[in-house]
């Protein structure tokens, strides 16, 4: 019994120890990306290529999801507001929900699944097939040439995707609220314009999506670079990217919202 307990505690300690060690390693890796980002900025085409692969190719899933989320918000929002006789505030409800919360969070979760997993798989496969080693042997730093452009590509793409998600969501809310249910179009848009504040609502949403972009891209490139160089290792790393970055997004969302919360 004592032996079993001691073994369990040792196992727990080892787990905690290895997690902390890995977090430290990931932090050093982040620092290395920052130090080697000069290449990504000097040779902008490397980063723009990644913006295309992570951003442009994620457009379909982001836009379609944004449309449906906005349409659902329109339906649910109308149902709730009708109870208080304030259905003309539907535009405000849809817009604030999207730009403050749902836009950055849902688009970040979709981005982690679509682009984050792809980045991890690509870097992991490059490692497994010795492409990263080959690059090192050619006197080209893989962190500068492969990792940093993908990281910055993700960081740049994320706020743009979140903005498009929110815009598409508002359009979805308009389609359902105004065109389908018959909420007054003038009230829908004018109340939205009057109530949505640029600094408090839009800028905070952009800050959130920027932070989520850093989180997803960091987790994705780190997991890919640190993956076991086998098919199983790469698949495990891809799964870890989605799980870790999704949880990190939700935790960071709470922290950021708490900091941004003014209570007014």
């Amino acid at each position: 019994m004592d032996n079993g307990l001691a073994r369990a505690l040792r196992g727990l300690g080892q787990q905690v120890n290895s997690r902390i060690w890995r977090l430290g390693y990931a932090s050093r890796f982040f620092l290395a990306i920052m130090l080697h980002s000069g290449t990504s900025l000097r040779r902008l085409h490397l980063t723009l290529r990644e913006v295309y692969f992570t951003g442009v190719l994620s457009l379909i899933i982001i836009l379609v999801s944004g449309l449906f989320v906005g349409m659902v918000l329109g339906l649910q929002g109308y149902d709730t507001l009708a109870r208080y006789g304030s259905t003309e505030a539907l535009g405000v409800l849809v817009a604030l929900s999207l730009v403050r919360e749902l836009g950055p969070v849902v688009s970040a979760l979709l981005f982690a699944s679509r682009a984050g997993s792809a980045i991890t798989a690509e870097i992991g496969m490059m490692k497994a097939t010795e492409q990263l080693s080959a690059m090192e042997m050619m006197a080209v730093d893989p962190i500068a040439r492969v990792v940093a452009p993908r990281f910055w590509g993700g960081v740049i793409s994320m706020p743009l995707l979140a903005a498009l998600f929110s815009a598409m969501g508002i359009f979805g809310g308009y389609l359902v609220g105004v065109q389908l249910i018959g909420v007054d179009e003038g009230s829908f848009w004018s109340q939205m314009q009057a109530s949505v504040d640029f600094r408090e609502d839009i800028l905070n949403g952009v800050i959130k999506s920027f932070v989520f972009g850093i989180i997803v891209s960091w987790v994705a490139v780190f997991e890919g670079y640190d993956a076991e160089p086998t098919a199983e290792g790469v698949s495990g790393a891809t799964t870890r990217t989605v799980v870790t970055s999704s949880l990190a997004i939700l935790a960071a969302d709470f922290i950021l919202t708490a900091f941004m919360f003014t209570g007014t």
């Binding site: 496969m125 490059m126 097939t129 010795e130 492409q131 080693s133 080959a134 690059m135 090192e136 042997m137 050619m138 006197a139 080209v140 730093d141 040439r145």
Partner: protein
Amino acid sequence: MAFTPIFAGWDRLMEKPVLLESPAVNFTGLPGVNMSQESLVEIRDLNFTYDSRPVLTGINMTIPRGKVVAVMGISGCGKTTTLRLIGGQLKPTSGEVRVGGQVVHQLDADGLYALRRRMGMLFQFGALFTDMSVFDNIAFQMREHTDLPETMIRDLVLMKLHAVGLRGAHSLMPTELSGGMARRVALARAIALDPMLIMYDEPFAGLDPISLSIVGELIRKLTDALGASSIVVTHDVQESLKIVDYVYFVSEGKIVAEGTAEEMKHSTVPYVHQFIWGEADGPVAFQYPSRPYGEELMERAARRG
């Protein structure tokens, strides 16, 4: 002859020594490199331990200039580790590796990268960049390390591809290549900057007999044409003994025999004999280390009562 179409332009290529004198590639006289000395790579008393497990013990090797040297041994004996130590991807536990007179593990990052620009490496399965065409794979180093105009890079890349018989395949993607073709493209990439040292990690693994013979011939001819030194890590005895000047046999991280290819063929060292003639049992045991089977059976029977 099987090589005729591949080497159709070889003589012309050698008459115009483009491989040796192209502006991107002439490294003689670069600082820190002692070009006059006899041996290009010297390994002295090299020990390497991984996770407290000794991988290499007391390795001493000399790779002369202009020669092809093979490092042979069974899988997991430490051959590839030796290459990684020469390339500076690993640091020795003790001892030293000198390349061109410089101690590799004492170089800083810039010095190491400067040295690697004068090395070429062919990886086991080519390690071609899968998101780039054949052309871009070979142009990669030229674009990264030189300011050559694109027209000159194009000429150089096509020359390298011509040397390995794949000029016509420059627009293909790596996924469209056969195993042998991929290995030849990787070889062209390894010599892209006309290195002084070319390292080959299992260049013959998984190749059909024709591709195997082509790659073997290319290793020999490119080494001679470039005046480079080559280190071939392999366990393919027949093909490598045809092309190499000197052989080191490694077993369990130690050099157990060395000599010319001819000497090795007639070696009486049990390990070398077993390796060259592919015998199932010998110093490299057929059975994975374990307790005597009879002893285990008796113990199990006693436990059952």
